[in-house]
């Protein structure tokens, strides 16, 4: 009796969560076997993300950022704690991870096919999505015929094709030159505004985090958990070069440096 009551309470709790929150992480701990011992990637990470919010996670390498995304995408399992995403998830990686044997359109069409879209509409939808990321005319190119920035645009179109509610991005622009990155920041911000996607964006670059995020979560080094949280209230669109942005990013970088010193 009491058990079922508790369950009921938990259910309603979950439902309440789902109204406002797209994503919640509760005391999440993930450990991997490393040799004959366990390596803690995340320990007790806790945070929530509201529907339609754009949240950036910054942390030094080894702060379990990629592990966090893998758990949220259902590719890794938590050792303890909970990670809950409300709705469908799409992942974008630093390496665009496009399938080299498919054209740009083919890559997007595959995502549509796996989602269950009918063959008759796939081609048209894929072209529309490529159009949305400003790649009209490049649909027949294969990944090796595209620049790094264009590949990430295709990856973005592919993620949109999955019709996800939450976009998980793992240092997606880290390998790009400054100008391509700048353009993709604008692109991503525009798509986010139009679609009201929830975005969790992992980066090691504090400026990028402040440029894009409504909020920035600073992660500790190994094992990772939220050490610090910054609300970014600068008006959008923001410029990477604005002094206000630089001040906030500078504070985050200082914090990161301290975390790295502690971690060592």
């Amino acid at each position: 009796m009491r058990n079922s009551l508790e369950q009921g309470a938990r259910m309603s709790n979950l439902l309440a969560l789902s109204d406002k929150h797209a994503l919640s992480v509760e005391r999440l701990t993930v450990a991997f076997p490393y040799g004959d011992q366990l390596l803690l990637a995340l320990e007790g990470a806790t945070f929530e993300i509201k529907r339609g919010e754009f949240v950036c996670v910054v942390g030094a390498s080894g702060s379990g950022k990629s592990t966090l995304l893998n758990v949220l995408a259902g590719l890794d399992r938590p050792s303890s704690g909970r990670a809950h995403v409300h709705g469908r998830v799409a992942l974008i990686f630093q390496d665009s991870a496009l399938l080299p044997w498919l054209t740009a359109a083919g890559n997007v069409e595959l995502a549509l096919e796996l989602r269950g879209a009918k063959a008759s509409v796939r081609q048209r939808l894929a072209l529309e999505l490529l159009n949305r990321v400003h790649l009209a005319g490049f649909e027949k190119r294969r990944p090796h015929e595209l620049s790094g920035g264009m590949k990430q645009r295709v990856a973005l179109a592919r993620a949109l094709a999955q019709d996800a509610d939450v976009l998980l991005m793992d240092e997606p622009f880290a390998a790009l030159d400054a100008i391509s990155r700048d353009l993709l920041h604008e692109e991503l911000e525009r798509i986010w505004r139009e679609s009201r996607l929830t975005i969790l964006f992992v980066t090691h670059n504090a400026r990028e985090a402040v440029r894009l995020g409504d909020r920035v979560l600073v992660f500790t080094s190994r094992p990772g958990r939220v050490a610090h949280e910054v609300q970014v209230d600068l008006p959008r669109p923001r410029s990477l070069d604005s002094p206000e942005l630089a001040v906030i990013a500078g504070r985050i970088t200082d914090r990161l440096k301290r975390e790295m010193a502690n971690g060592r």
């Binding site: 259902g74 799409a90 991870a97 044997w101 796996l114 990944p143 015929e145 353009l183």
Partner: protein
Amino acid sequence: MAAELAPELRLSELLAPAAQPAGRTLARAWSGLWPKLGAVLLVVVIWEAVVWSGWRPESELPGPWLVLQRLAGDLGRVDFYAGIGVTLRRAAFGYAIAAGVGIVVAILIARVKLARRAVGSLLVGLQSMPSIAWFPLAILLLQRSEGAITLVVLMGAAPAIAAGLLSGIDQVQPALIRVGRSMGAEGMRLYRHIILPAALPAFVGGLKQGWAFAWRSLMSAELLVVAANQTSIGQQLQSARNSSDARQLLALMIVIFVIGVLIDSLFGALDRSIRLRWGLLGGEA
């Protein structure tokens, strides 16, 4: 936006293969061909020199010209083509079964941990084992029949094909599997859409090697089996030896060589076109 796209466009125009003038294509074809022609010429010259040296009488070791004359004569005979037909049919049949078995075995080993532990290392042993060693057993079980020949071809080609596909599956980039799974592909769908296409280049390598083994095994088997009144290439070779017809023997050897090279180059072309599509040909795409 424009700043990013414009240079990309111009670069691709520079690289477009269609832009090459016909003369340059010819020159490239010639630059690929002449070393091969040179090598053939060198072999012919050495052959001729050995014949001229008088080491063996011409009835035992005829010169290239006599052999080519015989080959030209053979090429005008219907039963000669029938022989080639029988051999190629056996090759195609045995190879097709080998490909089927190789694919199933590779996927089983890749998917079932126990299967990998059980037969993973056997595969390497089988690959290095000369498949003709299976022949006595094949004759014991299946008599001197088509079945025995097929079994030898199968045991020659299947391990190489399975090993090629398996290494292709094992070497698929983890990122591609991750992205496939995050798009909702699991189990057989993951295989169909991500893993098998990604393993294609290594698989074609295995198919190519499997063909070489199949062709060798088939020739060995045909020398040993005189089955069902069929005049195969191997059997013609054997009867040329029995009647000490050295010209016929050498003409047949040339045919065996040319067939092997032709089919191998088909696999080469397939491999090249895949690499070109994937952008794996450095600087040539």
